[in-house]
Amino acid sequence: MITSLGAGGRVSGYLARRLQVLKACIILTGKLFFADPQWIIPSIIAPFVFTLVAFFLFNGQTSTSTFLLELVLGGGLMGMWGTTIYGSVNSIGFDRWNGTMESTLAAPIPLSWISMGRVLFNTFEGVINAFFILAIGFVWFQVGFSILNPLLFLMAALCTFLSLSAFGLMMSTVVVLTRKGGFITNSMEIPVYIATGTMVPVIVLPFAVLPFAYILGPTWGIEAIRNAAVSGYSGVGLGYWQDLSIMAVETIAYLALAFLLFRRVEAYAKRNGTIDEY
């Protein structure tokens, strides 16, 4: 019984309950995905078509191995981004469509933990998506798998995965208050592709866009990935470890902001009775 536990027991009980919810949400989101896996198609097709367009744009003119590697990497990163953003923002929106919003909010656990479980699975799905695109890209364009430093590449990819999850969690708070989640997602998709430098390094972007690019953690993750993968890549020019450090700081900030926002918007939605009648 919780009341009979000491401070340590309460903390472990507190954490255990949340981790249990986290695990259940990851599993449930996974089951829902495998029950209707068609949703991965648009997430694969969009980045792949963008990659193909870029390939045809420059085919025969700049088809160096660096160009092709950057192209394929860019497609993979777009796939990861697209799935994460779409899945995360809509993780609450799907509750509205399915009529499960009230039950979800009535659960005796903060909404942030439920959402985090869903976002984690969505990001994982994004990673699978990215590997699909990379595999197709490497085969289709016959790019040799010449990653400069595979170990650093994998580490940067994993950190970017975590940063994307945190960003997705923060974004999903918006949808608690509005039915415009799908709209926001669709409008955000290409701007975030640009601002994070998926296909074109952020250094090429106009100066006015750079502040937006730099506050996005994945921008630094993508810089780190390129630094680890492409020989002679300069980009923003801070180097691999600095890129990862900035991303780590921004990811922690996203997480803190996400939990704070969740607490506020959940309380607001419950107080005003605007969960479904928004």
Partner: protein, 285 residues
């Protein structure tokens, strides 16, 4: 029974026509209310302003990064200004039947004795205007942000190309919407089609760059004719923009293409409606 009813109690052709016209008008205004009031106008303003600049910017930056001439970047920008309308013309229209399913209004819509063409085309018509506005915003960005010169442009031709392409692309939206009547959602097919047009419609590079076996598919999409016509209507330094007479061939093919796609969509819709009625699987898909 009205005085103009036939001997078997069925309405005459003229009554059916005027009834369909009323349904079309009602569906058009219902579509407008659905979009602007329920979805709220700010979202649409956001879409009109953000969609074209984002898409044009993405491909323009790609071109700049790989060191291509400004004229080539401008070629890309014009194509994408027109293609950006697909988000509204194809995606939004394709989701009409899917949204009916989500909102539980599909059985109610289907059991009405209203003319199907008038009902669904009417609901889609407001998107023609929105699509044209998205492309107009795109062309404005092309001028202001990307330096495309409209000094030689034939503005009447530009306007006609944008409106005709918008109407013709709506046909594709309706075709996909018909698929959505049978499938769980049309969103997947709409997504695939939307992005395929970026590849096949001469938006970012001439159709001739594609492998030979892919090129015939390009010419089944109205946007391919529209993109070519738009570039001709804008003209370039020393080359005046084409007038409507000069564009008549391209525009004629585009209109015919749009009409054929619309007929195919209606045939598909009727087929799926019959199938769904027979199997009772409008929502139990």
């Amino acid at each position: 029974m009205t005085s103009t009813d036939g001997p078997d109690g069925r309405l005459g052709a003229s009554e059916r026509f005027f009834l369909a016209l009323r349904v079309f008008k009602g569906a058009f205004f219902f579509g407008r209310k659905g979009l602007i009031i329920w979805d709220s106008w700010d979202m649409w303003v956001m879409q009109i302003l953000i969609t074209p600049i984002a898409q044009m910017g993405f491909f323009a930056f790609l071109s700049i990064y790989w060191g291509y001439a400004p004229s080539f970047t401008q070629y890309i920008v014009v194509g994408n200004a027109l293609q950006a309308m697909s988000f509204s013309a194809v995606f939004a229209v394709a989701n009409i039947t899917s949204q009916d399913k989500w909102q539980g209004t599909l059985p109610g819509t289907i059991v009405t004795p209203a003319n199907r063409v008038a009902l669904f085309v009417g609901r889609a018509m407001f998107q023609v205007l929105l699509s044209a506005l998205i492309s107009a915003a795109g062309l404005l960005y092309a001028d202001v942000v990307f330096g495309v010169s409209f000094a030689s442009a034939n503005f009447l031709s530009v306007a006609v190309v944008v409106m005709l392409t918008s109407g013709a692309m709506i046909s594709f939206g309706l075709l996909i919407s018909a698929v959505g009547l049978y499938m769980r959602t049309a969103m997947i097919v709409a997504n695939v089609f939307l992005f395929i047009t970026l590849l096949l419609s001469g938006v970012n590079f001439p159709v001739s760059v594609l492998p030979a076996w892919l090129q015939p598919f390009s010419w089944t999409i109205p946007l391919t004719y529209g993109t070519e016509a738009l570039r001709m209507a804008i003209g370039s330094q020393g080359v005046p923009g084409a007038n409507l007479f000069q564009l008549s061939g391209l525009l004629g093919w585009e209109a015919l293409d749009g009409l054929l796609v619309l007929i195919a969509g209606l045939a598909l819709f009727t087929g799926f409606e019959t199938l769904s009625r027979r199997t009772g699987r409008f929502e139990e898909y």
